[in-house]
């Protein structure tokens, strides 16, 4: 447990450091960015005030150490561009993204399970169709899928809104956009391991015991076959958050992805680090969760 905690802290430190230097060492003047972006003409007095206020006049190493010091005490600092503390800002936007990611992960699992179950039982044609669909789905880029879904469901059919709405209708297209490619990935892995499991001796013995085909599939083979896909879900959750950058921008949804994109454009270092730290924490938590889920599904791991 201690090793795990140490590992987590190391990951967080590394994430904070890499992000800080990656963003700060690109040439550019954050003070200009702070003062307003396109169309604003910053006065020298305003720039000087901003430099002092944010410490841009100090050496980068000093700024880095100050940043780490603040992070260690849980203070994510203050956004250059948004005039807000980063902690509340990021937490405010966290909900929307987590909701999106969790729904997309759940839907991806549903789609992958359904496709895998159907294609492993439906003979060669079903297997080919299933694997073809999975490959296509996995290869779909988010921006293309999002735009296509908008064209079909918002413009042609007019049944779903292309942007976020107060109700749940606005969630459908963004969730589909994230879930479909992920379902492709999960489906590929599920189907392969399901096929392997269906060939295993324990399935043979289950069949010999007179278990129904459905029972064989859902209680024995699938349980076995889902293990690799479960461990993949930790990675998938991270990829969903990065997918959120595209999806939230296209569907005009509030969330961490959009916050991150704006912050990177404006060189808003505290917000970039804040979002990346939160995502890193989510990643670590998700890895712990998938570990636990693996233990739950696989009794062999529990005895160790």
């Amino acid at each position: 447990m201690a090793a795990r905690l140490g590992g987590a802290i190391f990951v967080l430190w590394a994430v904070a450091s890499i992000t800080f230097f990656a963003v700060r060492l690109i040439p550019g003047d954050p003070a200009q960015a702070v003062l307003g972006g396109p169309g604003s003409q910053a006065s020298p007095e305003a720039l000087a005030a901003v430099r002092t206020e944010y410490g841009f006049d100090k050496p980068v190493l000093v700024q880095y150490l100050a940043q780490l010091g603040r992070l260690a005490t849980g203070d994510l600092g203050r956004s250059y561009a948004l005039n807000q503390d980063v902690g509340p800002l990021v937490l405010d936007q966290l909900g929307g993204t987590v909701l999106l990611a969790v729904l997309a992960l759940a839907l991806a699992w549903l789609l992958a399970l359904a496709l895998a179950a159907w294609s492993t039982r439906g003979g060669t044609v079903a297997a080919r169709v299933g694997s073809g669909l999975e490959i296509v789905a996995a290869a779909l880029p988010h921006f293309w899928l999002a735009t296509s879904l908008i064209v079909v469901f918002s413009i042609w059919l007019g049944v779903l809104p292309p942007i976020s709405t107060v109700g749940a209708a606005g969630l459908v297209l963004p969730v589909l956009t994230l879930a479909i490619p992920l379902a492709g990935f999960l489906g590929q892995i599920l189907r392969e391991s399901l096929l392997a499991a269906l060939e295993s001796p324990f399935v043979l013995s289950a069949r010999a015991r007179g278990e129904s085909e459905r029972g064989v599939l859902w209680t024995h083979a699938l349980r076995h076959a889902s293990l690799p896909a479960i461990s993949l879900s930790g990675w998938a959750f991270g990829s969903l958050i990065s997918g959120a950058v595209v999806v939230e921008t296209i569907f005009a949804r509030p969330g961490l992805g959009r916050t991150l994109l704006t912050a990177v454009t404006l060189r808003d270092v505290p917000v970039v680090i804040g979002v990346v730290m939160i995502v890193a924490v989510a990643y670590i938590l998700m890895t712990l969760l998938t570990d636990a889920a693996t233990r739950l599904v696989d009794p062999r791991l529990r005895s160790e």
Partner: protein, 550 residues
């Protein structure tokens, strides 16, 4: 209640003719080109902006275009400008400059209160100017516009006196800008965070709430009395509520308009404008921004553009007309002026910007760039004729970036190597500050021709402590300086226009810049949105006269 036609805009005229043709052909259902009847009160309009979400809704802080767009719905200025470019009354009823031009007395409307109940009076104006001039406000645009204002004093509750350090012929134009709008002094006394979230003005709408990255909700000000002199009606606005959203992606923004989720979008890109022309349910409003035209500035402060022959050669080698008409698909009109076409003082001279590769080659030969290197570029003493061109991807839309690529391709035929470097905003500022550029395109919005002084007076070459300077062409010509300085002090309209005309001719003839087109500012709206217009100050939309025909 039809939106007024703008005959001087070729594009708008074309749209009108097309729309008329459709009407005659009988294939347009009840659209906004038919009389829409009497304005109706009520309803919610959803506006979707493609501009960045402001970090502060008080345009005194910083002062950029996204702030101006939204704040024009709840804040008002002392004066405004009409379609003819004349300054008209708004919160100030009248004004009188002294003979020496150093003192201006503004008589204010006596019947106006801010939406928090605070009275609008001379003391309020004083507090606003003080707020803008206070360095801790971090005002950029408003602060610069008030550069010549020394003191502001209340003569009486309704008369406020501005005392200047020197005559300022741009004072009224400066005060008409949304970045210098009047806010409740009581509200300004709150913390900056609070005032940024809910600034209080005298406008037709009130900021009710702001959910970051989602929407700003504005509600009608039922006690509203102070429309500008060119408004179409009096009394409160028609719309009950305005939802102001931010949809950064151009395609989603248009999809949201098509599906009816939103009623008005800004930053319409050429491809969507062309699509929208084929739609019966969507209308277009084209309203170029004032100040400078979009243009490429040639850095005359260093080689190769310190030689006027090389500047002219570059301009002659660039086939801009074809690039603009193909890439903007007819939605932008080529400019041959340093100023926006909405500025009455703009001088346009197409002959200076003819595409003429043969003349360009001769000029380069004469300037000594007569070698050809291994890659086919011209060179002089073994040095290649290269043009470093940093491009701000935040400020140049995709179509504009493509125009630059076309210029790069045509200039190559004459032997220029144009190195386009797409950059984010901070890197772009840094490239300019370190003088790592030969050509650059930077938008500049300001009401009136005084923008010429900011862009082409040699004072603007001196970098601020920030390293930034506005005279990106690095024009350093005592004669231009003298013309611009005198014009800025000359309040006589005709004399001022003639001084600005002389200055523009000299700037254009010096081949310091390559004009492209006006700063594009296209809006698309649902056919049932009536009475939407832009304020002729900085071309931001005002929803005051707008109503929904549904």
């Amino acid at each position: 209640m039809r939106r007024p036609a703008r005959p001087r805009r070729l594009l708008a005229a074309t749209t009108g003719i097309v729309a008329l043709g459709l009407l005659l052909a009988g294939c347009t259902p009840a659209g906004p080109n038919e009389p829409a009847g009497e304005p109706r009160s009520g309803g919610t309009l959803t506006y979707a902006s493609g501009d960045a979400e402001p970090s502060c809704l008080d345009p005194h802080v910083g002062g950029n275009f996204p702030q101006a767009l939204v704040s024009a719905q709840y804040l008002e200025s002392l004066v405004s400008r009409n379609d003819a470019g004349q300054i008209i009354p708004w919160l100030a009823e009248s004004w009188t400059p002294s003979d020496d031009g150093l003192t201006w007395d503004f008589t204010l409307r006596a019947d106006v209160t801010f939406t928090d109940g605070t009275a609008f009076d001379a003391a309020a104006v004083q507090a606003n100017i003080a707020h803008l001039q206070n360095p801790t406000t971090l005002s950029s645009t408003g602060y610069l516009a008030l550069g010549k204002v020394k003191t502001v004093a209340a003569v009486s509750p309704t008369v406020v006196r501005f005392t200047l350090t020197e005559p300022d012929s741009a004072l009224l134009e400066s005060l008409s800008q949304p970045w210098l709008a009047m806010e409740s002094p009581a509200a300004l006394e709150r913390s900056q965070d609070e005032n940024c979230a809910s600034p209080v003005g005298t406008g037709p709408f009130i900021v009710q709430s702001w959910v970051k990255q989602n929407a700003i909700t504005l509600v009608r000000n039922d006690d509203y009395v102070s429309p500008p002199a060119d408004a179409a009606h009096a009394g409160p606005a028609y719309l009950e509520e305005v939802i102001w959203r931010f949809i950064p992606d151009s395609a989603s923004r248009y999809a949201a308009l098509q599906s009816g989720e939103v009623d008005v979008i800004d930053n319409a890109q050429p491809d969507t404008i062309v699509q929208a022309k084929q739609s019966d349910s969507i209308e277009q409003l084209d309203s170029p921004r004032p100040g400078a035209a979009n243009r490429i500035e040639l850095n005359s402060g260093q080689a190769p553009f310190n030689d006027v022959r090389v500047r002219e050669a570059f301009i002659r080698s660039a086939n801009v007309d074809d690039a603009v008409s193909s890439l903007f698909q007819g939605t932008a009109t080529r400019s041959y002026s340093a100023l926006s076409s909405v500025e009455g003082t703009a001088i346009s001279n197409a002959a200076l910007f003819d595409y003429d590769p043969a003349a360009a080659a001769e000029l380069l030969d004469a300037a000594g760039w007569n070698e050809t290197d291994a890659d086919g570029y011209r060179a002089k003493d073994g040095v290649r004729l290269s043009v470093e061109f940093p491009v701000s991807t935040n400020q140049s839309i995709p179509a504009e970036q493509s125009v630059f690529e076309q210029i790069q391709a045509t200039a190559k035929e004459t032997g220029f190597e144009v190195n386009l470097a797409p950059m984010d905003l901070s890197s772009w500022y840094a490239a300019l500050a370190s003088n790592d550029y030969d050509a650059v395109s930077a938008p500049y919005t300001k009401v009136g021709p005084d923008v010429l002084r900011i862009l082409y007076h040699s004072d603007s070459i001196v970098p601020a402590p920030s390293g930034y300077f506005a005279n990106l062409a690095q024009v350093n010509d005592p004669e231009i300086d003298a013309l611009l300085t005198t014009a800025a002090r000359t309040t006589d309209t005709d004399e001022r226009s003639s001084l600005y005309a002389d200055a523009q001719n000299r700037i254009l003839e010096g081949f310091y810049l390559l004009p492209l087109y006006d700063q594009q500012n296209h809006f698309l709206l649902r056919g049932d949105v009536q009475g939407l217009r832009t304020l002729p100050t900085v071309a931001v939309p005002t929803l005051y006269d707008t109503w929904l025909n549904r």
